[in-house]
């Protein structure tokens, strides 16, 4: 019905609204207006009857008034000249004896959102601030913010701000919270509302009188306050104590964050608070509301970064229940991976193994789920070698469910590294080799090459034939340069003899330096406390974002599988760099697009038109091997546009890359061997400093690694 025949409807309604018989009959009149509103809510353009509706505003019927005001707030920006006619009625209503009418009129007037209305609303708002009914005061206080937003660039009215600050002492709790909200908007250019000591303590004392929304917001505002002394700090923490037990998870998390921030110099207080919210958090993780569950799980993961053992005794709470939605299962599997310790590793693996063959009608869902599980296996093997055996037993049977490139890479990696213990590993890999022509992801092919070469070292008889076929395919038929280069590299490596291959490929199968998760380097609580109770933990690392992304951008950015494939292919990126790359992806959202094809002409043109955004010098010894550099850069999706030949002095290279948002990074490498320095100059098509710095650190990592390899 919406969008169709709106003209006829408007015409008909117009007729009805103008009809004096209808106007005389209160009910019929109101029904006609109701129909207008109904159409309006369905997205039909009802601005045609504006004149008629304005006339209807002069009424004693409060429902009719409400409807008319609702209509006007929607269409006033479209018909400002007509809306001015209604202002008179609105102004009159602002001094109606009924506080509800006063509040309603004031709220509507402030929401008109049309130019020129300011001069009319100023006086009613000021009157409203002193109204005896708290309902009107609440509206008036928020009205101040609306008025300020209408003004746009105008100066902040000092007297008004002062009045709002004094209303923080109002006896009505919602007026108090509204004052904070309003001041925050009005003063946003000056850093928002100022929370000084008297205000902070006043708010703290009023906390228990506020509703849960007010409490949650005041907790956020209080983050700005710095207690003067230790004594004061602990007084505040005492006052806040009961909110850690609130029935609203939002208040609990808000209070937790405030504790963490206030006590940033007292790690034991932070730990203690995290201990105490463990219960409420776990409760939220099994809440009836899926959405709350999900957000709570995200916060659990955040806490685990600092206190890896924190939830270990409750690991069973994170076992997936069959009927849970997908995004919760994914979060839970990730939490489980982070919870593993010596005692529960067996049970957790047993549980994860069950997930791989989860009964589900929705095949795609099952598959994605299996991928995450397999990726978890890989991370587990990497981090804690003890569970290798169990993972090897769990693997057979998983391959059927895995369709996606990242899952395939994880599975192939596992098969390659631990193939000597998985009896059917060569056969599973053979399937992949058979189908390599139809494989669309270069990263999978590269992973397959590495894995098969590895498996060849431990089980030569079973693998020789297919390794030959795969190398032939990659070198002769493959179109992707990176895959071809990798093939050629391995082929030449094989020519050097098996010992050389072993030396390059048999890097550690797990990272003993990380050891058990218990020994994992813990991030200090303060590093994430400011992200707590924001959207950051929810979308920042959430795996669903990577899984649900477009096919086209399937493998953008330096993400885990890439770094894993790097780490596995020998010394290309050493272990500590793997860490660094991982940290990078956690902290910001730099996503380099893999298929960025810049032509040399375009590059040159852009290069000349841009300013240098960043320049730095790195130490460098000896010559450059262009192939190695190009390959390493390719892995992190940086394209090499042009390069001097080997041995040229000075040696230069031009690199290009593009991130998901279309921002270009153009780079010049300049090597002057005599002073053993490599100078990097980066130009950026859009000025975005945080992305720039992450791009530079990616570049640094790659160059640093190659430098290390040579020395």
């Amino acid at each position: 019905m919406p969008y169709l025949g709106s003209e006829d409807v408007v015409k008909e309604l117009k007729k009805a609204l103008c009809n004096p018989h209808v106007q005389a009959d209160r009910l019929r009149y109101r029904n006609a207006i109701q129909r207008v509103i109904r159409h309006m809510t369905q997205g039909l353009d009802m601005s045609g009857v504006f004149m008629e509706i304005v006339k209807a505003s002069a009424t004693v019927d409060i429902v009719q008034k409400k409807l008319v005001y609702l209509y006007m707030c929607t269409y006033a920006p479209l018909k400002p000249d007509l809306a001015l006619l209604a202002i008179n009625t609105l102004c009159k209503d602002c001094s109606d004896p009924n506080p509800m009418v006063r509040g309603l009129a004031l709220r509507s007037m402030c929401s008109l959102r049309m130019p020129g209305v300011q001069e009319y609303i100023q006086q009613p708002i000021l009157n409203g601030l002193r109204d005896k009914a708290s309902y009107v005061r609440r509206v008036a206080v928020l009205g101040c913010a609306k008025m300020y937003n209408l003004h746009g660039d105008s100066e902040v009215d000092g007297a008004l701000v002062h009045e709002l600050y004094s209303l923080l002492r109002d006896q009505d709790p919602i007026v108090v919270v509204n004052c904070l909200r309003s001041l925050e908007e009005i003063l946003k250019h000056e850093g928002g509302v100022v929370i000084n000591k008297p205000i902070a303590h006043h708010l703290l004392n009023r906390m228990s009188k506020l509703d849960q929304w007010g409490q949650a917001e005041v907790l956020t505002f209080l983050l700005r306050y710095q207690p003067r002394s230790e004594e004061e700090l602990f007084d505040i923490l005492n006052l806040l104590d009961s909110f850690l037990k609130s029935s609203s998870p939002g208040v609990v998390i808000g209070a937790t964050k405030l504790f963490l921030i206030l006590a940033k110099k007292f790690p034991h207080v932070q730990t203690d608070v995290l201990m105490r919210v463990k219960g409420p958090l776990l409760a939220a993780c099994s809440s009836e509301s899926r959405e709350l569950c999900f957000v709570a799980l995200c916060h659990v993961r955040q806490i685990l970064h600092s206190l890896p053992g924190h939830f270990s005794s409750h690991y069973k709470k994170f076992f997936c229940s069959y009927w849970e939605p997908h995004y919760i299962k994914l979060q839970k599997v990730e939490v489980l991976c982070e919870l593993v310790n010596d005692e529960n590793v067996q049970q957790v693996l047993e549980e994860l193994r069950g997930y791989c063959t989860d009964v589900s009608v929705d095949f795609a869902q099952a598959a994605i789920f299996a991928i995450v599980v397999v990726q978890t296996f890989r991370d587990l093997v990497w981090l804690c070698p003890q569970c290798t055996e169990a993972v090897c037993q769990a693997l057979p049977g998983c391959e059927e469910n895995i369709q996606d490139s990242e899952g395939k890479q994880a599975l192939i990696w596992l098969l390659g590294v631990h193939g000597d213990r998985i009896s059917n590993a060569p056969y599973v890999l053979e399937d992949f080799v058979e189908n390599v022509k139809s494989e669309t992801f270069p990263a999978v092919k590269m992973e397959l090459l590495t894995a098969l070469l590895r498996l060849f070292l431990s089980r030569p008889a079973e693998c020789q034939d297919m390794l030959g076929r795969l190398l032939y395919y990659c070198i002769e038929e493959e179109k992707d340069m990176a895959v071809r280069d990798r093939g050629l590299f391995y082929y030449r490596l094989l020519l050097l003899g098996i010992d050389e291959v072993k030396r390059i490929l048999c890097s550690p199968k797990s990272d003993p330096s990380l050891g058990l998760l218990e020994d994992q380097p813990e991030r200090p609580v303060n590093s994430w406390a400011s992200d707590f109770n924001t959207l950051a933990p929810v979308y920042g690392k959430a795996r669903w974002a990577t899984i649900f992304k477009h096919q086209g951008t399937e493998h953008c950015g330096p993400k885990l599988p890439h770094t894993a494939s790097l780490a596995t292919s020998g010394h290309l990126i050493s272990e500590e760099n793997k860490e660094r790359v991982q940290e990078l992806q956690d902290s910001e959202a730099l996503m380099l697009v893999p298929s960025c094809q810049l032509t040399a002409e375009y590059f040159e043109k852009t290069w000349l038109s841009l300013e240098v955004a960043h320049q730095q010098v790195l130490p460098w010894q000896g010559e450059v091997h262009p192939d190695t550099l190009q390959m390493a850069l390719q892995v992190v999706n940086i394209q090499t546009i042009a390069m001097s030949r080997v041995g040229a002095q000075p040696w230069k290279a031009y690199l290009g890359a593009q991130d998901g948002a279309g921002c270009l990074f153009l780079t010049e490498l300049l090597l002057e061997p005599e002073n053993s320095k490599l100078q990097i100059s980066v130009k950026q098509s859009e000025k975005r400093t945080e992305i720039l710095s992450s791009f530079i650190s990616v570049l640094e990592t790659v160059i640093g690694t190659i430098g290390d390899m040579k020395s």
């Binding site: 109701q34 509103i37 109904r38 809510t41 369905q42 997205g43 019927d61 409060i62 429902v63 409400k66 609702l70 509800m100 959102r113 309902y135 609440r138 928020l142 913010a145 609306k146 009505d172 709790p173 919602i174 909200r181 009188k209 929304w213 949650a216 009961s242 037990k245 609130s246 029935s247 609203s248 998870p249 609990v252 409420p280 776990l282 409760a283 099994s286 509301s289 899926r290 959405e291 709350l292 999900f294 957000v295 069973k316 076992f319 229940s321 069959y322 009927w323 939605p325 997908h326 549980e351 069950g354 989860d358 009964v359 009608v361 929705d362 109770n533 959207l535 959430a542 669903w544 649900f548």
Partner: protein
Amino acid sequence: MIHSLFLINSSGDIFLEKHWKSVVSRSVCDYFFEAQERATEAENVPPVIPTPHHYLLSVYRHKIFFVAVIQTEVPPLFVIEFLHRVVDTFQDYFGVCSEPVIKDNVVVVYEVLEEMLDNGFPLATESNILKELIKPPTILRTVVNTITGSTNVGDQLPTGQLSVVPWRRTGVKYTNNEAYFDVIEEIDAIIDKSGSTITAEIQGVIDACVKLTGMPDLTLSFMNPRLLDDVSFHPCVRFKRWESERILSFIPPDGNFRLLSYHVSAQNLVAIPVYVKHNISFRDSSSLGRFEITVGPKQTMGKTIEGVTVLSQMPRGVLNMSLIPSQGTHTFDPVTKMLSWDVGKINPQKLPSLKGTMSLQAGASKPDENPTINLQFKIQQLAISGLKVNRLDMYGEKYKPFKGIKYMTKAGKFQVRT
């Protein structure tokens, strides 16, 4: 904070929108639709979707997505809780919350939303206060309104707005003064193949319906308050008193409210009231499989288990099932592969069972996965944790109220793996 709200049905139509600040174009929902398409099932749409200029936070209830559009960084729990409150309010107002009902009452819906949020900030969200601002539609009132032409809007300001106790209105009067408390416990559990418990926990709530005149001050004490280690309270409960004496002391809101919710998760304290004996086998050679399950009582403290239903998702390879129940009715949907068995009451003398064969896809290898069984049940007059109310006293008013306590245990997410 909350810029706009869109209501979207499962087929992806926006059927209601409301903006509290400037109007955000409907096209922002395209990102949501994309996620909806990818998710294949409505339940799987992620609750937080970032778009270039906004965040979309949604909750999915009653087959409707309530999508809030956010422009700045906000505490996600705050928004999600608020959206749930909106749904609860609709449910409270209209009895059910569904697309047709919302469309029928669109004007009331708009009025309610207008009072719940101003400039994107939550204002009146307590249902008893809202109901005084905007009266809920009832069949009777609709008829009366049509005849007399009176309105749905209260002419008076809610008195609660002026009360010193923000959750209770002043001047409450009842001829019959009564206070009812329902102790409701739900068991969430995962039981493994062999019948041993993998995880089990009890989620309990005490819901109250208090209709008392004046400003009553109540105290509620338990026989065994130590059971409650992880509790959260309605804002009316005096927290310090609970900390020191383990007594709930409060001035109650008027009408229905949730007094407290609690968790019991120490595994030795969670009794599992039912067991499922199962024998499900897919034979390799033939295209027939055997299926047999029996449900029986266990640790029920002598109470009857009723309202039992069994739900199970069978593997894809199962074409059909021919089963005979000893009681109740069962259905198997060959398309969704969902088996459901409505058992009813469990008679300990004659345990209900469901037996028969499954026909499997010929030639296909046997499914390597086993189905999970999802169980629903109810036990009246029992709080499975053993929680018991000791006494309820009233101070501050002179009359004698009528008091009542009811107990009930239900299955929450109760699943048995086979």
